[in-house]
């Protein structure tokens, strides 16, 4: 894994150099192009970071494979991708993605849904390629947290969707047709124009980069799949059943995150949605009245306690470290109460 990560990372770091080199793109209008090579390099870095974690980046820096500066940039891209989506994607989708991100274990079905969501979002124009790349990054992180139990169809699904996005994101202004073979590897239109680019030979070079990247990703996912089959197959069926019921709060989560994770869980079980105008207590009362939850007083008790802790944490401005621990404990009790 580390070797693959290192390959794609090093590959990404060569891109700025490519961006500075003289280039020429056949059939690519010099004056009306809107491809910003620097941005493109950044995007590709984002793609690469999808196979990286913060720890791997730090290790690569330590081993001298990449410079401190580059390591910092990769880490920034790795950490900021979700924040970049804030305000640009439908909050409910973002919330689903965050949930995936915050769950250390995710149902493969949910991942498939996410892939479908990404593709449909991109197709409907709601998601620009940059967002897509960031989402792919998140997805890859989520896959990692699956303890490598990734079905092979899913891996191919991700690859297909990524190819599709790249295909549909080709610049359109004044462009003439190119060969079918190459068309699927075109790069996203970043929407940032440079006044003039000298002698661009981007398409061919970048195609190779994209192919290499996708091959890296594919290889990684296939390796992940085989390794998971080898190591984890016996546990797989038990685990998937467990995943449906369990939601784990990552270390370092605050009471607010725990509360909203509880709300999502309770919404699912009670079918009572937390409407925007409902206060937290009003929502608790609605849930308590819900016919779906008759006879689950433990769940109501836990959710009530979490609601109170949320109020203290959110509105009192009196930091109390014990509140987080109590909220976390109540959350797990709530999950257990769900059976």
């Amino acid at each position: 894994m580390r070797a693959i990560a290192a390959v794609v990372a090093v590959l990404a770091l060569t891109l700025p150099a490519l961006a500075d080199a003289p280039r020429h793109t056949p059939n690519f209008p010099v004056n009306s192009t809107s491809v910003d090579l620097t941005s493109l390099a950044e995007v590709l870095k984002l793609v690469n970071t999808s196979t990286l974690s913060s720890e791997t980046v730090s290790q690569l820096v330590e081993e001298g494979a990449i410079s401190q500066e580059e390591g910092a940039r990769l880490l920034k891209a790795l950490n900021n991708s979700l924040d970049e989506l804030e305000g640009r994607v439908d909050p409910s989708i973002l919330s689903n993605i965050e949930r995936l991100l915050n769950s250390s274990e995710v149902n493969p079905e949910e991942l498939r849904d996410l892939v479908r969501t990404l593709v449909s979002l991109q197709e409907s124009g709601l998601l620009d390629p940059h967002d897509y790349i960031a989402l792919a990054n998140i997805l890859a992180n989520a896959l990692k947290r699956l303890n490598l139990d990734v079905p092979i169809e899913l891996s191919y699904g991700i690859l297909r969707s990524l190819s599709k996005v790249i295909e549909t994101s080709t610049p359109t202004q004044g462009e003439e047709s190119v060969s079918t073979e190459l068309s699927i590897w075109r790069f996203p239109n970043m929407g940032v124009g440079l006044p003039s680019i000298q002698q661009v030979s981007l398409q061919e070079g970048s195609t190779w980069i994209a192919v290499l990247l996708l091959l890296s990703l594919a290889t990684a996912l296939v390796l992940i799949y085989w390794r998971s089959l080898y190591n984890y197959a016996p546990k797989l069926s038990a685990k998937v059943g467990d995943l449906v019921r369990r939601e784990v709060i990552p270390e370092g989560s605050d009471v607010l995150s725990i509360y909203w994770a509880s709300v999502r869980l309770v919404e699912k079980v009670s079918k009572v949605k937390k409407l925007d105008h409902l206060t937290h207590r009003e929502y608790l009362n609605s849930v308590a009245r819900s016919s779906q939850l008759s006879g689950t007083s433990k769940l109501i008790e836990c959710f009530g306690e979490i609601t109170k802790l949320y109020e203290v944490s959110r509105f009192s401005h009196e930091p109390d470290p014990s509140v987080v621990a109590r909220a976390r404990q109540k959350f797990y009790e709530l999950v257990r109460a769900l059976g």
């Binding site: 607010l256 925007d276 105008h277 206060t279 937290h280 509105f315 009192s316 009196e318």
Partner: protein, 311 residues
């Protein structure tokens, strides 16, 4: 904060006042917020008993003025009389020099007399013959009015109404409560007379001070501002909440949170006090008024539109 529990124990659990818990809490909240309350209800729904009981339990001075059209401002604030023995003018203080002033049927007094209360309510002082006198803290006007009476009344001007922190609408008790009340009808008067203070005045002043320091998060302030602004935008409203209305909601929400034993305000406090703090400040368009739309409905409508603070 235990005094609110004591009030509840004595008045509600002791069945001195039946089904008046919300009204009692709201009056105490107004007191903690240093505001005044307008109690609206038909005759015979224990408006006076409620005010009197609270005054007794809180060890506060209590006076009552029955408003009539021929009542003069001096009957409320006081006047100077010539003392023949000393040959000097002597001040005879009016009933306003108390802690809880029950102004019964306030809308039966002439506008001039109603206005005599303005200075006292706003500035907590009165001016008699050019001389200003401060009123003792805590000072609270509890005014009552009958919503049905149409003749021989002078509706309160907006400026006067605005001085009331809350309008507390009180009504009939339930059938069960009514039966319980009938059982105890002969002893209610005596029960109120025998009430003993549950908190000394000095401690009550401390509680008022503490209630004013209840913390309010910026997002809650934003929530209050949105509610008040939304009340102005409502299509059925001719005049919505003023900035003073927003301040009233804030003060009352603080007191409400304090009554609940919290040192911080949550959106539920705002929702709980929004109706009493806003309804008397909202003027509807005549066409909606004729259709039976009420300010209470408007406020409730607004509360279902404005999102509570998130996350």
């Amino acid at each position: 904060m235990s005094f609110t529990k004591d009030i509840r124990r004595v008045l509600i659990e002791g069945n001195v006042l039946i089904e008046k818990e919300w009204e009692i809490n709201m009056i105490v909240a107004c007191l903690l917020a240093r505001g005044h309350a307008l109690i609206e209800g038909v005759p015979g729904v224990a408006k006076t008993y409620t005010a009197k009981s609270i005054a007794r339990l809180l060890d506060l001075g209590f006076r009552r003025i029955q408003m009539t059209p021929d009542l003069l401002p001096s009957d409320i604030v006081g006047y100077y009389v010539f003392d023949q023995k000393t040959g000097e003018f002597r001040l005879k203080k009016g009933p306003i020099f108390t802690n809880i002033l029950l102004v019964d049927e306030i809308n039966r007094a002439s506008p001039r007399t109603q206005s005599a209360l303005l200075e006292a309510m706003q500035e907590r002082q009165v001016t008699i013959e050019g001389q200003t006198f401060g009123l003792e803290e805590p000072f609270m006007v509890l005014a009552t009015q009958n919503p049905i009476e149409m003749e021989g009344v002078f509706p309160l001007p907006e400026a006067q109404v605005d001085r009331f922190l809350a309008k507390i609408a009180t009504g009939y008790v339930s059938h069960r409560g009514f039966v319980e009340m009938l059982k105890r009808a002969h002893e209610i008067e005596a029960a109120i007379e025998s009430l003993k203070p549950v908190i000394p005045r000095s401690l009550l002043l401390e509680e008022i001070e503490k209630a004013s320091k209840v913390r309010v998060d910026d997002s809650v302030l934003d929530y209050i501002a949105s509610i008040v602004e939304e009340s102005r935008k409502h299509p059925a409203v001719r005049l919505g909440g003023s900035p003073r209305a927003g301040i009233a909601v804030l003060k009352l929400a603080r007191a409400w949170a304090y009554l609940d034993g919290r040192g911080y305000v949550i959106p539920d406090d705002v929702k709980a006090v929004a109706v009493p703090a806003l309804i008397h400040r909202i003027i509807l368009k005549p066409e909606y008024e004729l259709q039976g739309v009420t300010p209470e409905r408007i406020v409730n409508d607004v509360l279902t539109k404005v999102p509570v603070p998130k996350p």
